[in-house]
């Protein structure tokens, strides 16, 4: 019998700690498919970040170094500069990449470090218990914005992918979602493109993935999935913001 569906080789066969309805597992699978597709598992060094994302070192069958909160673009720079032949994978959440690690991601991107960055945006600090993130939507109630995020107090949710797309060092920048089968297919394509940017040494490839955190949103999985479409996508538009095919930057 021909097998048409199975676990990607790069994904370890263990139960995950993720909450029911959380999209990290889905995203892990797509990333593992990309690792397998490009045949880089044995060449990959992952730079884990801080938050729910840190457990990438339990779930991907690759070498991983843990980074301080927000610093994985700097850690990955150190790995890549001293091992240019390796494939370096980053997997960061919104608090990690878009708040405490803003300087590190912007400058790694600006230097054109050939890294692949998976940026999971679920509009909330997940692991610490649902505090306001830089990506929290206006009006969204969190444990540190109990009256709802107010722009005069907290500013607007940050659109980091649009910002990074402005930088010459970024070869690929896209925002995708994983709430529907159609979006999943596009997300997979974008993740593959972000891998290709590094494989072809064109610069940084990054994908922002709109995803759910039912636990901290106080929703069930289905409601959370719907929220991505009704609230997040209208503010965080999906699409490819940067795609530079040539290696003219270098």
């Amino acid at each position: 019998m021909k097998q048409v569906f199975g676990r990607p080789e790069s994904l370890v066969d263990v139960a995950s700690h993720f909450c029911p309805g959380c999209h990290h597992g889905t995203i892990h699978r797509l990333v593992a498919e990309a690792i397998d597709h490009y045949g880089v598992r044995e060449e990959t060094i992952g730079a884990a970040s801080v938050g729910c994302s840190v457990f990438m070192y339990d779930y991907f069958d690759i070498d991983v170094v843990e980074s301080p909160h927000g610093r994985s673009p700097a850690v990955a720079t150190g790995v890549k500069r001293s091992n240019p032949e390796k494939f370096v994978l980053l997997y960061q959440g919104d608090g990690d990449l878009a708040a405490i690690g803003t300087a590190e991601i912007i400058h790694a991107a600006n230097r054109g470090e050939p890294l692949t960055v998976i940026f999971v945006n679920n509009t909330v600090y997940g692991m610490t218990g649902g505090q306001m993130a830089p990506t929290t939507m206006l009006g969204q109630r969190t444990t540190t914005s109990p009256y709802g995020r107010e722009f005069s107090q907290d500013g607007y949710p940050i659109k980091i992918t649009e910002m990074l797309a402005q930088l010459e060092g970024v070869a690929y920048a896209a925002r995708v979602a994983v709430d529907t089968p159609a979006h999943l297919a596009k997300a997979k394509k974008a993740i593959f493109a972000a891998f290709e940017a590094q494989v072809e040494k064109r610069g940084m490839g990054m994908v922002e993935i709109l995803s759910s955190c039912p636990t901290n949103w106080g929703m069930n999985a289905i409601e959370a999935n719907k929220r991505i479409e009704t609230e997040m996508i209208p503010y965080f538009p999906l699409g490819v913001f940067k795609e530079r095919k040539g290696s003219d930057f270098f």
């Binding site: 070498d63 991983v64 700097a74 300087a103």
Partner: protein, 354 residues
Amino acid sequence: MTKSFEKGNVAIAKAAVSAGCLYYFGYPITPQSDIPEYLSGVLPGLGGQFVQAESEVASINMLLGAGSTGKRAMTSSSSPGISLKQEGISYMAGSEIPGVIVNIQRSGPGLGGISASQGDYFQSTRGGGHGDYRTIVLAPATVQEMYDLTILAFDLSDKYRIPSMILADAMLGQMKEPLDEWKPELGIDYGHSEWILTGAKGRERRRVKSLYLGDGDLAEHNWRLAEKHKRIAENETRASVDIPEDAELVVTAFGSAARIARTAVDRAREEGHSVGMLRPITLWPFPAEEFVKVGEKGTPILAVELNTGQMVEDVEIAVKGASKVSFCGYPPGYLPSPDEIYEKIMEILKGEEN
């Protein structure tokens, strides 16, 4: 061996290259900028990488990344910059990642000034960042030692999987002295390369990390680090000891303070007084045993530092009251002449100390 006449900072940079360090990550700050300036010129030609990072925080984390792949790498800075690096140093210590960090001390607290100081003794020898850890701290007193101890820092860092720090200051970094540039043996096998990240090719995946959430795992990890610290203290403690049998007083100082103190000690000896000199070379591990020996004889000790009193606490802990410990401190912005320290020595010898 090449002979040259070099600034202390350049001696460190040259030593790093001799030690096979091809990767440098840093951020400009006075008075250490000669190090990145030199290496930015040299490393690209050697197939290495020089990265001027966006911040001190980024540069220590780049060091962490390179170190996790077993590559010799270095970062350097000066006091305020070293404060910013403490997060990364703590993670490196927790993840047992080797790497060399150079602190060409200026003065604090805060922005302080750019003059020589030894105000970072506590920060360096107590770990510096969060958590229960130590780093190896080497304190050169000459340009030659800036070179020699940098090479040692790389070896010890690899041998024990621990960050090593060079603790010098503006004076040592900026002054020129003759230098013998020797080449160390490279590629020493310390018998524990199975942690290095190279990509999981034909083997189980590896993880370099400091997060331990399992019941009792972190306590076990901390005890394992403590055992390692003990091993380092037993095997790697270094001091320059020049104490006559009949010493009436032992002067102790490290780094540039030790140079000034040494001149004062020599003068006292020329005048017929038996004065010893004990210069810690490793500030952590601290050469406590040498002080215990002084304490056993009850010989008084004078600690001289370019701060308001930091190493003197370690001296007092070591002698446990067996010797009278005096202190002579010079906070930043002022350097004592040897005569001032000589006067202090004389006061103690004559029993006139206030």
